[in-house]
Symmetry: C2
Subunit: 254 residues, 2 copies
């Protein structure tokens, strides 16, 4: 490392440590030092030093196989995130009710920039398979929860999403910005969204917004069912009632 | 900052950033820069710089009130921890079954050093109130899950816990190391633990171990019920069956 780099070393150290944490993902839950080095594009000697410090604190854990995984301490601190675990704990009883009454898939998501993050999902016992994972990200344009979150996002976020490339998942995915803008206006008017075979050809989802105490839409809840088995308009009141119950409890807890 | 400090600055930067994250807790979920500075014992100018970098990455989030909270990005990375979210996702359906069948409190915990960490808890609808929080820590010596985890901990962990000060919660809390050692031997023999009014005078818990694919005890599951309503020995087979089902699924998933 050059002297010049050393002189500004307070900068890159934290950025590099965070880049190391960013290399862990659903598909990369356990990595050796050299795998982390390759993924983070940081020399292995530096990775060695930073990982040792992260592991000493508990952000990473070394397994019997010599590979590193995300540590329990990081999970514990993450559990303090109001928009993650906090929201999840308040919503969970309502999501469980919805799941037990319908036996379908229930999802809870929040917006993070121009994508959504799934906070909870309960798989219905005989429900259509869904690929969502807690902590996983997804496009705002395709799912029921995504359409609700996008409909209530700031104008600049909507503009960015609708002017960018819009992923197509099936032949039913709506990718035309003008059609999407009309759908978002409908979501704001009716109070719920319908995603009909826009993610997979066998699934349909109906979602409704969860409001904070101050009236902002902070999350969305949805039911994901087999396409063709139920009318989406018969599901909407159920999802809306559940979303309102969660909103009410959030206001009380705020 | 002196030249000398600058030269070794790669060291303290990450340590200080982690110390900042450590200041967040159940009782301190939202803090101003000066509160963080006071809690972390780091000058406010340094906190300002580190928090800005942590917030840019998403480890912290600044609210409308100017206070900082743990961010969604940290929750997302934490959700990759195998001993946290990974275990939780596999165990949740079984915990929900146990909760619905008994209508009592269900808890899932792992050992972290000389304490336990609660990974999940489901509150029974008419059950005895419990104070556990997901991500929260507790002594290994008092609860049902704690006794299971301690009984199967390495000898040096047992020695450290039993030679240290042992917290007393009620008049029923066992704090004598010799009595505790006998209880731990019983737990290993019978395959379950009973904590009778050792945490609060109205509650009793029965816990059983969850094994990894390689036979190690990696977690414990418990039912927490009103003292005096049910015989703990009638609960044990239920908790053990649930623990075994989770162990079996973990082995399959490993």
């Amino acid at each position: 490392m050059s002297d010049r780099e050393g002189a500004t070393a307070t900068g890159p150290v934290l950025a590099r440590a965070l880049r190391i944490l960013s290399t862990f993902d659903t598909d990369r839950r356990a990595m050796t030092l050299s795998e982390i080095s390759r993924q983070a594009e940081i020399p292995v000697s530096t990775v060695h030093r930073l990982v040792a410090e992260l592991a000493a604190w508990g952000a990473l854990e070394r397994g019997g196989d010599g590979r590193y995984r995300v540590g329990l301490r990081l999970w514990q601190v993450g559990a303090l995130a109001p928009r993650g675990q906090g929201l999840r704990e308040i919503a969970l009883p309502f999501l469980e009710d919805l799941s037990q009454i319908t036996r379908e898939n229930v999802q809870l998501a929040v917006r993070e920039g121009t994508e959504l993050v799934f906070i909870e999902r309960i798989a219905g016992s005989e429900a259509v398979p869904v690929l969502t994972r807690v902590g996983g990200r997804f496009a705002l344009t395709a799912t029921g929860v995504g359409l609700v979150l996008l409909a209530h996002a700031p104008t600049e976020v909507q503009d960015e999403v609708l002017s960018g490339p819009i992923d197509r998942y099936t032949e039913c995915t709506v990718t035309d910005p003008h059609s999407l803008r009309r759908m978002l206006a409908d979501v704001r008017t009716t109070g719920f969204s319908i995603s009909d075979r826009q993610v997979t050809m066998d699934a349909l989802s109906v979602a409704a917004p969860i409001h904070s105490g101050r009236g902002h839409v902070i999350a969305a809840v949805s039911l994901v069912v087999h396409h063709g088995t139920v009318s989406p308009h018969s599901l909407a009141p159920l999802v809306q009632t559940s979303a309102r119950a969660i909103s009410r409890t959030l206001s009380g807890a705020a």
